[in-house]
Amino acid sequence: MEHYTMNLNLKVWRQQNAAAKGGFKLYRVENISSEMSFLEMFDVLNEQLIHDGEDPITFDHDCREGICGSCSMYIDGKPHGPWQANTTCQLHMRAFKDGDTIVVEPWRADSFPVIKDLMVDRTAFDRIIQAGGYISVNTGNAVDGNSLPIPKDDADASFAAAMCIGCGACVAACKNSSAMLFVSAKVAHLALLPQGEPERRSRVLNMVAQMDKEGFGACTNTGACEATCPKEISLSNIARLNQEYTLASLTAK
């Protein structure tokens, strides 16, 4: 694709802290290369703000190669911007045209309170993982990988669910602020493997209980999460979560 430069108008959410009332602020960036990533464009804007003596815009980022799940911008009405199966850091400026106005908001959910500007507190996800998103193994030498036979289809489905990077785009996209795509990916990932079997029931019960405690909404199967997920986690994982939960809760002592 041919390289071009563009001038853009940015409408960015600024908020001093969790308690403060935020609002949109307009910025202008010029000579942005079509080969920059969206975050690099924000770096340019922040350089400009620092140069002008203003407070730079706070946003989450880490690996910048789409695997850490840190970046979290809601761009023009869609988490991670207009492209499919893509994180904000992988979004390139060639997705935009010269003269565009881009609206950038933080994830919106009461369970993800804004820390500052575009950065939100996603530790609720960490607590859900702590509630059951693990397997218990004795320490010692690693077991030989081939000692536990796993059907290829199950291994593939488990791996597809394990692709979830926990970015929270599903919560941001959902009209109910439901975290069920995230939780279902974590539950399905381990439920499909023999290693996950011993804690299979307590895992799903504890993770769903923690999810409810964190104040996420309930799933109504609209599919907005699946449509926006950068790792294309399938909605059928939520059906699997429902099945796991139903069986575990109805047979629990």
Binding site: K78, R108, T220, R240, Q243, S249
Partner: protein
Amino acid sequence: MTWKQVFTSSIGKKLVMGFTGIFLILFLIVHVGLNACIWVPDGGETFNKAAHFMGSMIVPRILEIGLFAGFFLHIIQGYLLTVQNRSKRSVGYAVDYGNRGSKWYSRSMGILGTLILLFLIMHIYHFWTPSRLGGMWNIHELGTVMYNGKEYHDLFNEMRIVFAGNLVIVIVYVLGCISLGYHLAHGFKSAFRTLGVHNNRYFDMIKATGYAFAIIVPLAFAMMPVSYYLGWV
């Protein structure tokens, strides 16, 4: 784990919606099948006898109580879930994801359900109260008709009284059926998702059945008032 914990969890609430939803879908099959008897060209005899069967036998009457319970649970739980889910995002977005991520009717189950509820109240007032409670507390009573020396409620004629020459009522009924169609277009497959169907071979079948059901059943219902209005029956 207590039963209360099961059914007050987010998935437990969904299970209540899913189970009652499928129960109400089964009711729709019975209802549309029985009402389709109005098109039997015998002046309503088959239909009136079928309606009499439903009203006089003990099993349908017990199921009727279950039906009211099912409606009640589905409606109350639906409103509670809608209100709770909406309260999870106190600050909204300036730009909405909207139809890019999901179908409008899947996001509008509360509104569609409310339209169906309003329709249902009117519908019960038109047909259920006169046939079950007619004669009590000044409630208007159904006319009767004789078949082989036995007296039956003339529900067939009651439908004519309600619909024939009454364009506004017919339009409201058709709108009610359209709301039902969109409600089912999402509700049918969503109910099975909630019950845990994740096998795509089965789910594709359920999805196709759901869309067909959401078109055929409301269309058949809508054709009933239209048939009376246009003098087809």
